[in-house]
Amino acid sequence: MTAPIRCREDETFVLNLGPQHPATHGVLRVKLTMDGEYVVKAEPVLGYIHRMHEKMAEDRTFAQFMPNTARMDYLHALAYNHGYVLTVERAAGIEVPERAEYIRVITVELNRLTSHLLWWAAFLLDLGGFSPLLYAFDDREQILDLLERVTGSRLTYCYFRFGGVYNDIDDDFITGTRNFIKRLRSRLPRLYHDLVTKNIILIKRLKDIGFVSKEQCRKYGATGPLLRGSGVQFDIRKNEPYSVYPEFDFDIPVYDEGDCMARYMVRMDEIEQSMRIIEQALDKLPDGPVRAKVPKILKPAAGDYYAAVEAARGSFGCRLVCNGDKSPYRLKLRSPTFSNLSLFGEVAEGMLLADALAFMGSLDLVIPEIDR
């Protein structure tokens, strides 16, 4: 759809998108070289909310670093909790009780729902549709209430512990979750799909916009819905199963188109799949303890450990280098959007400004996670 660019060097101008801009959802800055409405060159400038979590990790004990993990991807904080505890458990050789694993899966998937709902809301806001924001927030609020009941916080959870979770879930949570899923199931087709997904304006704006090929994804290390929207079936939950995910029957939605609509559909289908996982986990929930006996100060054997989980935005990996001390010698946090955003510059070239912003929205950026 985009016309070939014919511009003279002296006719371009630089548009400074951000760090405060409605479409960047946080403090991302993109230096756009524009030819009229066409983007000639796009350079994301990062680091406005950089907090150096990796250095903080080296200064704290393993348990003390837990709250930091929630402050990277504040929308899917529990996945980051999960990735970190998985790595440390792997390093220290801790066994997790089965009930705790189920609770982890339930809460992580609920959290994934909140993340996708918020993405949906914010994406529509990028496209100029304001009302869906409030519909999605309405649903998201229900999940936050549920999660607040068990975790004690609404956004930056610090719920997982090495060897289990902090708190057992109660019957109220279980019935609340079941009711919520019933509610979202009834709302999804009407409020989400009839009103928005099938909207001709939305389809026209997203179809064939922001094409990302499989090869591009591989070269840039893209993961998550971005990769699945390009036709690659890759989800850590299936490909490299962790926790109790192999117990559940769920699909990995894949769309081959590689455009914004494909990524949109992947996320919408993932909402459905997450609900399936939660339902099955609630049905199978075993009894038992939710926390293994773990020493207060962990001193894992020296060595190199890696674990990855599937966060809402892609695969989140933790590389932990231990030297036998009570704090990590080095903790590398591999955030998915850092890689995903790095292909923005290449893809956005030659796009119209509005399309480039639609593409940016479809990447589902969470800036604190990129900047860490």
């Binding site: 792997r90 490909n239 020296a302 060595g303 890696y306 990855a308 036998g324 591999r334 850092f338 860490r372």
Partner: protein, 225 residues
């Protein structure tokens, strides 16, 4: 042949001496295996490799990771252990080690010279891997800097490869792999930002997360808060 083994053989190209030894050991192992069992299901063989590798690696959990060859091992382990140096202690030698996935989360652990990282990236690129992260580790005591490249596959065949290399701390320089993986661009900039590792041939090696006028490298161990 499973993907881990395939990649291991491909990566052995980096180390001609080891590759020759490996081929010899492999031929021997195959001959033995053919004698031992006439029809072994490939799935079982794969399981054996990982199981055997696990026993081989379990003893090597102390830093710096030293590669040991397990004594009581199946022919396959011998083949896997062939490229490892027999030295029990001391710094690890270059080579491809089969990692203990359940414990360390990687299938193949490559230690190579700084000059070989581009070749390693090319081999992995051709094999269909994607770059997950590039990071450094500052080994202050040894006066060395370790650069770690994490690779992974996205085609459903599970194989995580980690490529490490050690560079002198005083002069942290090594070639950039941005020509192979454009996605490495930001990861290398990040490593430069945090550790001051200079990637030669990088198109735009500037600060990425820290302010452009920062005059420190925060993740160095002698940078204290």
């Amino acid at each position: 042949m499973n993907i881990v083994e395939q990649t291991r053989i491909a990566l052995l190209e980096l180390f001609p001496d080891l590759a020759a030894a490996d081929a010899e050991a492999r031929a021997k192992a195959e001959a033995e295996a053919a004698e031992a069992a006439e029809a072994v299901a490939p799935v079982e063989a794969e399981q054996e490799v990982t199981a055997a590798a696990a026993t081989g690696e379990a003893e090597t959990a102390t830093p710096p990771p030293a590669e040991e060859s397990a004594e009581a091992a199946t022919p396959e382990t011998k083949a896997a252990a062939a490229e490892k140096e027999p030295a029990a202690e001391g710094p690890r030698q270059n080579g491809v080690a089969v990692g203990d996935y359940d414990r360390h989360g990687v299938h193949l652990d490559v230690l190579c010279d700084p000059q070989q990282v581009v070749a390693a990236a090319e081999i992995l690129d051709q094999a269909g891997f994607f770059i997950e992260a590039i990071t450094g580790v500052d080994w202050l005591k040894e006066d060395q800097m370790e650069v770690i490249y994490d690779y992974n596959r996205n085609d459903g065949r599970l194989c995580r490869v980690v490529v490490r290399t050690r560079i002198p701390r005083a002069e942290p320089e090594l070639p950039s792999i941005t020509n192979v993986y454009p996605g490495a661009n930001w990861h290398e900039r990040e490593a430069y930002d945090f550790f001051g590792i200079r990637f030669l041939g990088h198109p735009d090696l500037t600060r990425i997360l820290l302010p452009e006028d920062a005059d420190f490298y925060p993740l160095l161990k002698d940078f204290t808060l």
